[in-house]
Symmetry: C2
Subunit: 393 residues, 2 copies
Amino acid sequence: MTDARHNAPILPPRILMGPGPSDVSPRVLAAGARPTIGHLDPEFQILMDGIKGQLKRVFRTQNAVTFPVSGPGSVGMEACFVNLVEPGDTVIVCQNGVFGGRMKENVERCGGTVVAVDDDMGKPVDPDKLRAALKAHPETKVVAFVHAETSTGVVSGAATLCAIAREAGCLTIMDAVTSLAGIPVEVDAWGADAVYSGTQKCLSCPPGLSPITFSDRAIAAVKARKTKVQSWFLDLNLVLAYWDGEGGRSYHHTAPVNALFGLSEALAMVEEEGLENAWARHARTHNALRAGMEAMGIAFLVDPAYRLPQLNTVFIPAGLDDAATRGALLRGYGIEIGAGLGPFAGKIWRIGLMGESSRINHVLILLAALEKQMREAGVSVPGSGVEAAAAAA
Amino acid sequence: MTDARHNAPILPPRILMGPGPSDVSPRVLAAGARPTIGHLDPEFQILMDGIKGQLKRVFRTQNAVTFPVSGPGSVGMEACFVNLVEPGDTVIVCQNGVFGGRMKENVERCGGTVVAVDDDMGKPVDPDKLRAALKAHPETKVVAFVHAETSTGVVSGAATLCAIAREAGCLTIMDAVTSLAGIPVEVDAWGADAVYSGTQKCLSCPPGLSPITFSDRAIAAVKARKTKVQSWFLDLNLVLAYWDGEGGRSYHHTAPVNALFGLSEALAMVEEEGLENAWARHARTHNALRAGMEAMGIAFLVDPAYRLPQLNTVFIPAGLDDAATRGALLRGYGIEIGAGLGPFAGKIWRIGLMGESSRINHVLILLAALEKQMREAGVSVPGSGVEAAAAAA
């Protein structure tokens, strides 16, 4: 349906349970709609300082260089690689899903040499493989890995991987796009050097910003580069004149003012709840979904030992058509869930319970709607998912 | 003043008359606050198609590749350079202000060789210098220039520069950040090949998106590259799978959904007014400001023959302190005007009359506030700026 006035679609209400974006609180939407002010306005600079502090607390870091990059998570990823990787550098990329593959692309486009540590999709990164790769490639400068793989719903042992890398004298780049605020991310305690996230997952902001943090060691590496950073926009030496300028900020690019209003509000909401409480909520909501799915005879892809609570990958029940079922959920209930990627396309669904979408009500609605689809398709349903989830909540 | 709840500043109202962002309509702010939906939602894809059509009409082009890059104008600039410039390519950069300098930085970071065509800040690009540079450098692949220099308020003869470049067999990259929707931008009629703009100038959106358009010739050059585009995020071969995917869009990055809601509404407002009417309004509002400033004895930097109506550079009256006066305007009236850049720092102000800020009321408020500052500082004011502006409006 379109608005005849200017052919814009009248957007239907949605319940966002895919791999992101997640539901955004009305408070965050309202904050993002505050009147635009100048990106160099002194009052806006106070807001910028506030956001830096908020991000340090959510990243659990004292890193001075902690701010949101003016672009979505993929830009945060690129900011980490273009600043830390110079032509000829060796970078170990641990790949156990789609986003590890994107990291390899980034290294190659920076002129770096990729050493691959591959694990199967659906499994975590194997620390022993990383140790072996470091032994075989003592020239390695950077170790990169994905903390929470959005393509599979797997969490890898970030503390262990960071410790192994640091012991070998390497810097780490960690993807925390889906993990931040959903499960513990301890940048300082783990000694992660360059970490990027996104706003549209467990922070429940609209997509468009990528919080990053760089350790002093990482910043020293940026300053010691022999070559210029290949991206003018992402060159930390330049961006920091805006985000970290002492005694007044200097113009680099025009920051996305309204998106930052929204991010500030979303981070305030995380702190009001308490980060630990948010982690616990994500775990509880996952438990309810798991109980419901299992009652309905639906199995999870990922072993409980390394399963993300905020990104749940389940096998599509035999007898249900992938696209038709997702379409029915969307049209009938406004529910968005995610398709499988790569080898899992058509085999699994990705169900996000992130941020504002990590609610028992979301779980109940999804289970009820899915149960109806199964019954209508003649798929046997061993028990009530809704009852089991409600009991587990 | 801060909001005790979470230390966020309570942002004061502003009248944005600097070099951007400009005032944003409540309609656009409200559109940006609509509930977030998925970036792959079929309803969102209808909106994406609508935005592509809207942008084609505002750029005056039939170019199939016309869409908003998910980042501010500097990212749009970088998208043009990283896709069209390969290592070893010769690029003529016409520089007559700050943004031409940024273009040179982009070329060098792509491994290209810059041939500089320099004109003084405050003057337009000299077509004869471009002709001479092309004769001296027949190997030139790309000619880059800024249509409307935000640092000085100068418009260059884009039609002429594009024609000269095309006659020499070169592609053109044109910066239309400040020009789009404020003065004529005729992408197809001029034969410009790669054009980027920003949302926070005459389109009066919040900053954060960069509309771009690529001609078929430019796309052919991207497809004929010998090397991979150095930015994964900006590689048009990949981005277009999302923005131009036939029979369904495939995931590349998560688009800034809410910012795109706002852009769609802002573009609808431009079309409701009519693009030609918007150009005429920008000219009228400039005339009022000019009459007022001249009555008050304040001179313009730029010759009327190549003066931008939407970005006015005026000499700071002798006897007024630059920063103190701008601070007084901001604190006393909420008015933001811009400082001079580079050699003009402390010598000129940059007064934006862009998009929603291109209003006679804005002009009257600024002139009244400025006249008061001048009188208080003991600076003689030959005549009433407000009266002259009102008479000219």
